[in-house]
């Protein structure tokens, strides 16, 4: 019994009881989980903590980087020759296509001008390399070797030579995290190239893709190519995404549309982060007067 003014001797001070501490800490954890998973409030905390632990991470990654570089260094001559031949062949192919592409682009620009349409967005790509799979076993993510410093922004599309592989979900200073198409929580707005039908595509949690909420009776069949629709304002329209492999009617108002990715989603090494050239100008604040451009600043519209 402790009397007023007499605290118990310090050897009995053990802080809170273990169960109370367990309860408080678990409650904090659960609150953080909800804030992070449901609302995404903790990105700032994560960015700050990342800066702190970055040196430790670089140190931990050093042996793995060394092993990878050593493997590249000791690649055999035969491998390099084979790869070289393959690259030459594909370069000839693409050069030919590029010639036609330039002509078409020119023609397209003129037609757009004629039709009074806005200019198509010009694209900016950042070449990057997939370093390794992210450590989190519950999702399908990879880490790229380019980050904020190189112009990678959250939300951009990531493609390999064949098509879309995923979306940048988190950006660190010199690395970035890409959520692959096959992740269950990665959703891409798409359209069927043949019929123009729009829909959304997501991973089925088993390495494949699935087009969701396709009504029974829709014009879709195995072999159809699925491309991005660009409706989200993040992805460029028309990137090849997947091929429909199986359409089956389930006991529901929706068809089950199974697809397989066009790109080497889980095995890509060299990738390109694609985004529109310039970020849109920010909207003026409400009530803020918009400055009129002086005549000297205005240039004739191209």
């Amino acid at each position: 019994m402790s009397l007023a003014g007499h605290s118990p001797p310090p050897i009995f001070h053990h802080g809170l009881a273990p169960r109370v501490r367990l309860f408080i800490l678990s409650a904090i954890c659960v609150a953080m989980l909800v804030a992070d998973l449901r609302f995404g409030y903790l990105e700032f905390v994560r960015q700050v903590a990342t800066v702190v632990i970055h040196p430790l991470q670089r140190m931990a990654a050093a042996p793995v980087d060394f092993a990878r570089n050593a493997a590249v260094y000791f690649a055999t001559l035969v491998d390099v020759q084979l790869e070289n031949a393959e690259l030459r062949r594909s370069q000839v192919e693409s050069a030919q296509r590029l010639l036609r592409f330039e002509q078409l682009e020119h023609e397209n620009a003129e037609l757009r001008q004629l039709a009074g349409l806005s200019q198509a967005v010009t694209l900016r790509g950042v070449g990057a390399e997939v370093l390794y799979d992210a450590a989190d076993p519950f999702s399908r993510k990879v880490i790229l070797d380019k980050g904020d410093h190189h112009g990678v922004r959250s939300g951009l599309a990531v493609v390999d030579a064949r098509g879309l592989i995923g979306q940048v979900s988190r950006v660190y200073p010199v690395q970035s995290e890409v959520t692959l198409l096959t992740d269950r929580e990665q959703v891409v707005p798409v359209k069927v190239e043949r019929s123009g039908m729009r829909g959304i595509l997501s991973g089925d949690g088993d390495g494949g893709l699935e087009m969701r909420f396709v009504p029974v009776g829709s014009d879709i069949q195995p072999g159809d190519r699925i491309v991005t629709s660009g409706l989200d304002g993040l992805f460029v329209a028309g990137l090849p995404v997947a091929l429909v492999t199986e359409v089956s009617a389930a006991n529901s108002p929706h068809l089950r549309v199974a697809c397989e990715p066009v790109a080497r989603v889980e095995r890509a090494v060299q990738v390109l982060v694609l985004g529109p050239e310039e970020p849109r100008p920010s909207r003026p604040e409400r009530g803020q007067e918009v400055a009129q451009p002086s005549p000297a600043d205005t240039r004739p519209a191209e």
Binding site: R21, L22, A49, L56
Partner: protein, 173 residues
């Protein structure tokens, strides 16, 4: 299975810097990008359990919480996922610490195994509730491999506390 009641060697108290060094070394090991190799032990959990059992007054739930958060940030997992699992694990480890130390290495690792499995089960439950995909049963192999290295790891972490044996014939302790 009965406790052995064999007396252990008398150890020097663990130095603070060594405890922190081993915790951060384990953290660095969890940051090594090994991709999707299943069956690698969770070094952070293992070292935390070790110190919770050996030094329950110095390493406990609060330490586990902060290191859990650091693992979450480094691995890109959900914030609080590892923290929650490690806090519960540290609670069990600290409350069982008086009991576990009576046993030999093998029985100790049998005590540690359920704690590690529970931590993993908590993480799976949290992520499945949030809508992630099940990583497969091979995910749980890492607890078993961690229990296997409990002996060697424990010896390694105890080495700095061993004092040189100099027998005093007049004072046989």
């Amino acid at each position: 299975m009965h406790p052995t009641h064999r007396s252990n060697r008398i150890l020097q108290p663990a130095r603070s810097w060594f405890i922190w060094f081993s915790l951060f070394a384990a953290l660095a090991l969890t940051y090594v990008p090994t991709g999707r190799l299943p069956g690698l032990p969770d070094w952070m959990a293992l070292v935390l359990v070790f110190w919770c059992i050996r030094e329950p007054r110095r390493v406990g739930m609060t330490t586990a919480f902060f290191f859990g958060l650091l693992v979450d940030v480094g691995q890109g997992a959900a914030m609080g996922q590892h923290a929650l699992a490690y806090v519960v694990m540290a609670y069990l480890a600290t409350s069982l610490s008086r009991r576990v130390l009576w046993f030999g290495t093998l029985q100790q690792s049998l005590h540690v195994l359920p704690m590690l499995l529970l931590a993993q089960a908590i993480m799976v439950a949290v992520r499945l509730l949030a809508g992630a995909e099940f990583p497969g049963w091979s995910y749980f192999i890492s607890s078993f491999s961690a229990a296997l290295v409990w002996g060697p790891l424990g010896l390694m972490l105890l080495l700095p506390q061993y004092q040189p044996v100099d027998r005093d014939e007049n004072r046989p302790i």
